[in-house]
Symmetry: D3
Subunit: 250 residues, 6 copies
């Protein structure tokens, strides 16, 4: 099985960190192919950036679609998820959606804890888009944005544990998702200090990609009635243009 791990952000260190985590949880026969955006933003943190980052993710997926079994859009917030799911004939996994759906099977009430108030709105959108608002208790964040994303896990650790405790005590969360690529891999390290289950999104996305490939035959994707009509695109990368025009006459 080949799994694309598509980072719509430009920060390769994040992609590497996420691929490393994904490989620890995927079975050995799964090939994880990490891809990083070549244009756009170091780190998407708003809807305007997600609009552009989502479109860039399509370029990367289209370029590597051949022989691929599933793709993870590896930015919490799931830029471009709905469109990618229409366009490509294999499972597309959103990191936020996979974390939410997994959390919803582990416990009843779900919170997101993340590193910056800047992310609150976009992450909240991803819960609404997942359709899981009835299970959601909100996003908790530190009061101020921190620019040094590289050292977040050490610097914010006590603050994030405190936010998890608030999610449990005040919001009655059963499961806490540590949202945002800069927190990838932190969940198992702080789990002992939280009175709830703690979910790591890239781990969730990886196990869900495995699960979905087991469930949905690729032939089924091609038969879907709800796929976009074939379109003649202009000025887009070749692979993406071919993807949009895939049922058109040559």
């Amino acid at each position: 099985m080949r799994l694309l791990l598509v980072n719509p952000n430009m920060t390769e260190a994040m992609t590497d960190r996420m691929a490393e985590i994904a490989r620890t949880v995927a079975p050995p026969e799964t090939e994880i192919l990490p891809l990083t955006a070549k244009r756009g933003f170091p780190y998407i943190a708003s809807r305007a950036e997600a609009q552009i980052g989502g479109a860039l993710a399509y370029d990367l997926i289209a370029e590597h679609a051949e022989g691929t079994d599933a793709a993870i859009i590896a930015a919490f917030g799931d830029p471009g998820l709905a469109g990618a799911r229409e366009l490509f004939d294999f499972p597309i996994v959103g990191m936020a959606e996979a974390a939410l759906m997994s959390a919803a099977m582990l416990g009843e009430r779900i919170s997101i804890v993340t590193f910056s108030p800047v992310m609150r709105r976009w992450y909240g959108d991803s819960v609404r888009d997942a359709g899981l608002m009835p299970r959601f208790t909100g996003v908790r964040t530190p009061p101020a944005h921190v620019r040094d994303l590289a050292n977040l896990q050490q610097n914010l650790r006590p603050e994030l544990i405190r936010l998890c405790a608030q999610a449990v005590e005040e919001d009655n969360a059963d499961v806490v998702i540590l949202g945002g690529a800069p927190l990838a891999g932190l969940a198992p390290e702080i789990a002992n200090e939280v009175e709830a289950l703690v979910v790591d999104p890239i781990t969730a996305a990886t196990v869900q990609a495995q699960a979905l490939v087991s469930l949905g035959s690729q032939a089924g994707f091609a038969r879907r009635r709800s796929k976009p009509l074939a379109k003649a695109a202009s000025g887009l990368p070749d692979a993406l243009t071919r993807q949009f025009g895939r049922d058109m006459d040559p």
Copy 2:
């Protein structure tokens, strides 16, 4: 990994069929332990029966909890799911919920097709309880109840394919779940004839049980703040009484 497959119905042939399917999708190192209710009903089809069947499922899970990594409540409708999740310190997978969450990662709009109008209301409840109503397009069933559950898959096949087509054309479903234990294993057989992805619930429950065990450390379950207080139960089976009183002084 040891996985309980708990059928709250008394029909062993159904349990056997579901265990057979689960074993085809689980990795070889997973031990599937099928359990069938010794009391109750041949096939749960109402909320009153689910109230009782859910309580009986707790007996079975408690009796085999030692050394278990996860349990599937193997009746679409998920009798007793919320309570089991509070009570036991490992993942509890609902067959309906697992199918819904999986479907929601494969496509946007989700339908349930099942074999009898009698099931409509209970299955609808399970979508509401899962919290996924915004992604749900409804339950479609044949107009009348059929008593011969054993031969449903042959007898109703054309009717069920027609109902899937209606779910796609009229309700714009991207994914159709074939709900109900009597339809276990039918999804891959009719998938070619449906213009949407088709999900088999016991397969979904099995792959999700795998995924959840990878995600949530059993230690985390024990630390949860939202567990019921220890209680001295009376007149319940021994194993279940111990489970309710598990933190009490001897």
Copy 3:
């Protein structure tokens, strides 16, 4: 008129107290028949316990169904309510639901005040199941659980009055329900100290049982299309087995 007052908890003192209150508000010609669970839990406080307690309530109702006009499930949280309503051919009154519906006719915004944070989630479920979330402002409780239920009314009285005041001032409640059998009968005693209407659930359940018997002829219940199909149950108490199989050939 004969009215069952079914306590799914094992604490007879609670049943007696509730029956005493019910008799003060019922007309003299109403026979109140108090029934207490012989198995299960001293006091239900979680969904797992409610799953079992609800099933035990069915045993009690089935045993005394003959000649009965209505039954109250006398545990706030309404264990087994939806199923009981399907199964029996007379009105089934949930103590929480009756309090909520009554409150909703007295004022616009409704709060629940109860004695322990442990009850919060289960009581919240009962509002969702009643379908009255748009009128609901939340559950307020003391911060910690108190094990001595017998003396709650004296010990917690000032705290409960303070919680009612918060419900009024911060949540804009028009009506406050004092939820939980241990608080039965407290409402009229503290009403003078609350700037809102205060509802006692067992009183509400009793007056609603009267109202429903006046409204719905028992013949109508038997004609309902939405009743479960007759079922051959195994290993259940005789009366309940007969109830499930009531339309089957002998």
Copy 4:
């Protein structure tokens, strides 16, 4: 106990008919005082008419408030209900709301059947305002408006029974409310021919008025924090002006 039966419509024959029904269900010691609007419309059938009719109901209630224990606003659609409940210090019963709340305790899914498509929207509003949309399956009506309200019960009887059957079969209703004052008293006459419980709104309003008086002490109403501030009204009937200014200095 004194109960006002306030018809915001001008048709006295309707008032008389409703008072007659109310008296059959109220205990003998309850005095039913029927009141009919002296201005306005023969029969309210739109929101513009309800705006005016609701205000006229306040005149009637204020004039007879002294010594009154409860008032029914006896027009399905409940004109002026929210405001009356704020203004007066005794229970105000809406005929639609009382029917809905009663129905919601008799069964799970509730339909309204009425005599004209003209009423559909206003009646739907009353369900939304009651906060019971999650229990509601819709309004069913004949396709065209009939002007002869006096003979509706005979002329439309077969059509209304057919609409009830559709509510049961297609909408899965457990309880059907026959909405609209012109249908007052019809429910028990057609109940035999409907596979669901059938609720008569004026009967429901009368039994709920009884229930609410038993529950909420009049002193509690006066203590409510959510009452409007005292106001100096101009150009309104004397009794209503006094009601609005009731806490003002003389």
Copy 5:
């Protein structure tokens, strides 16, 4: 174009102030006709008052309907809006609804800040009636009611700026509406001190009245199927009686 500015309150100074603001934003060829209720209340602040005030607004609109292109109901809370829209054949603009719809096109999350806790509930109703709850973050008010409405803008200015800051910081509002006629015209004066867009409702209502007249031809209103049936009203002002009976034979 002729635009009625209908104040359902009796305070002419408010009407004058609102008309003055409306004239600054309307094009010179728009005739603004200010109308003030001759009966009722100095200032509507509850649902009971709004029931009556809304009915009085119909009198004023009906009296001046001839030759009118649109009417503003110039009380935040929109008394009588739904009925007026059914009844009259030109655009009816609610001050609250127009502010909300305008705000929803300027930013994503909308708050209302107003001068008194007394208004909270009625203003909240107007958001629900507008159908915009998903965009709404709540009403913020000073803790206590202030009776001196005439000097509110000076006296409460710092408090209102502080409430706007809370709406931005705690509720993540993008747009703040300064609700309530006594605050008319304050928005531009404090906008510099708020980190969000600030909307003045009478300005919003005026520009929306212009917009709606450009959009909907008056002929279209007359063709609407959803208009109330013609009715013979009694005891209402002549112009309103004619309006209700407008399609009846002479």
Copy 6:
């Protein structure tokens, strides 16, 4: 006032037609600047295409932002609306959202009628994103997609009138929006044949752009707290890169 009319589709004839309509409704002093996407798709009809088209719209807006007072994203479905509204410091008008908000002030229940079933889902998303689902009655379309967009208005005219009639009769719509750029300008031509108000989206967008410029001072946009943090973008057009980095040190 300068108003950008940004067509994220590549079909210039559509842009020209929409600009022509906009100019008939805008005051003479408004400069309408039509812009057409130079890359992408002839006509956006899916979420994948909207993801890309929305990002392309940002290029066009950024390039012409200097001196601009407002921009219309002139594709029904509003690609990129939420992000554009965060990013730019002037009103961004979505053609679908403006039509919906305008319709919601003209009548209570709103339908969309469009030319192809392909558009149904994306247009439905725009209602959800606008937050107006409680006012929405659904999208009606012909059963099959028609490829000849240029002659739609003549070819589909009778079909579209029939769909409007269904929206009125079956869905009780008060206002019908003719959605989709290929139908621009058709509303006034068929209005006479529809028993509801009919709204033309580009007209609605133009009048709302006027209204919003009157309401929200451009200074207010710059002060918003909810703007994205300044970002160093790579590989994007220069004007857009400057827009994202606008508050960064040189």
